[in-house]
Symmetry: C2
Subunit: 342 residues, 2 copies
Amino acid sequence: MMDQPKKQPTMMDVARLAGVSTMTVSRALKPNTSVGEKTRQKIQDAAEQLGYVLNSNAASFASHKTGFVAVTIPSINNANFAETLTGLSEGLNNTGLQILLGYTNYSKQEEERLIEQFLQRRPEAIVVTGGSHTDRCRKLLENSGVPVIEMWDQPKSPIDESIGFSNADAAALMVDHFVEQGYERIGFIGGDASRDTRGLDRRRGFVARLEALGLESHRLVSAGSPPVTIREGMDSLVKMLDTWPDTQAVMCVSDLSAFGAISYCIRNGIRVPDDIAIAGFGAYDISEVSNPTITTVDVSAQAIGLAVAQQVSNRLSVQQGNPVKIAAPTILARESTQKSVQ
Amino acid sequence: MMDQPKKQPTMMDVARLAGVSTMTVSRALKPNTSVGEKTRQKIQDAAEQLGYVLNSNAASFASHKTGFVAVTIPSINNANFAETLTGLSEGLNNTGLQILLGYTNYSKQEEERLIEQFLQRRPEAIVVTGGSHTDRCRKLLENSGVPVIEMWDQPKSPIDESIGFSNADAAALMVDHFVEQGYERIGFIGGDASRDTRGLDRRRGFVARLEALGLESHRLVSAGSPPVTIREGMDSLVKMLDTWPDTQAVMCVSDLSAFGAISYCIRNGIRVPDDIAIAGFGAYDISEVSNPTITTVDVSAQAIGLAVAQQVSNRLSVQQGNPVKIAAPTILARESTQKSVQ
DNA sequence: TTGAAAGCGTTACCAA
DNA sequence: TTGGTAACGCTTTCAA
């Protein structure tokens, strides 16, 4: 399988066999081009016979159109980002655009490295996660000469365009939900590590909202660097209860850590939400099926991907499209925070 | 940001500014090339000054080396495949190889379409999931002229090379585990849909092992097309208990459906494993943290990705490497099937 | 509707 | 260590 004896056929071979010029072959292999019906058939037969496969590398080179969309996300192994990628991928289907995927492992340095690498491939658009980059990376993106979309965030001064939501505002929603449910001594787990920019934003928004409402805002527990795991959720809850045993409600930086926190409670006879209410973020599958089900913030991860795809298509005029909108984050109120419905 | 006034500089611009030929520039920008120290510095300065970015598209074209590795997986939104992809991606880091990712949505037709598309990009290696393809797809892969690796399976006649495990054998392990625990009336959920080739293999191996041991092997419940969800796990268990109420143990085609089945039990007062034992497949995170924890089959998803990356590197001589091995699947015996440890 | 010629930006190859 | 020249396989552009 490894080596093939003779080289692969080129357009010239097809042209020769079909008795036409390479230009005609080039046209015949693309839709919406003016080529005689007979000629086209002749060419397709010749191509088939030779087992010809278009070299889109050469095509890109000649046309200055690579059909690449560079995309960086923090991690593939995270349901939220996987959903966004799924949406992006589906949305780009049938546009002829190909994603160049890189994952940053939540590191801005790594993002910079990836962008630098991707730029060499001459992508026609660049999609990055978040609005926080190294200076050099920002400069590279600004000078790229192609559309740049920052997703999963709403930066104050976007590089070019952003499709996402304010993590701070989204977390503030949960404060309101807690208050509505009658909780007052409220804590937050995670969002401490400098690498976790979105987590940081969430905690910041959470604290700001607590302060705005005149509530205590010091019940903050570190959960370490992203990705924050289920185990870290457990450990953090222990710390929370050790330090502030009278805490009534806790928001975790993600559903995974919330699930961990709840698991700890269940296994140790602490009732959720009767003894303590626990909420998450991200509307992961697990929030819907854990016992109790977990109150969370739905950020429509897949819709973000679809919207980005749509907007990329618009910008590249690959296809027409309506102005792109995504739904604002919403609270999914479930068992883990609502005594009444329990 | 969208349009840049002047064209991007080329190697010729750099060469001119540095007072050398393009060939020297080409060499100076790559490691391990014989270029004078002063010359190299001069060139790097010139490149920096012009903001030159290598056009690796043109480079690919000229050198016939694209640096692409085409990869198809059924779904990104599946922890197992995401892990494999993570391993693959990490393993390919620093090789200069770039993954072209496509997901088939568990469809062989879609796989064929993707492969056809990828072939145009002239990848240097192709990685596909599973050993079952359309005839045309198989032919395309055979004629690709590059290394082809089928992962997550052990096909009888691989196209080129395979890195994975036998899904049938892996499932058979669970029969043995059940029997060791004293269960005799054993069922299987999922693996029914023709699209789910790996699920099918698992069920087949499961049934074969039951028969080999002289046990009943008719307790099979459909769970629908992949991806099999938590909800489908719940529904399938209901069917299982309706049809064969005396079932003692059930293996689900994946941990997700196992979790669903267990959730149904917990919420309906059926004790796991005291009333019924339930096992999954895949060693998803959830199997470790659900309550009870779920007995599952660990297939080292990430290790598969790493091994594939290693083997791709070997085949392309990007770097030296030891012969590639992955661990055989193993049973992770946990609470959901073991009365004794409960 | 078709064709001819001129690139596209880099690397391979050989020579100096 | 460096440079000159010829590809690489398409598409663009203009002309027929």
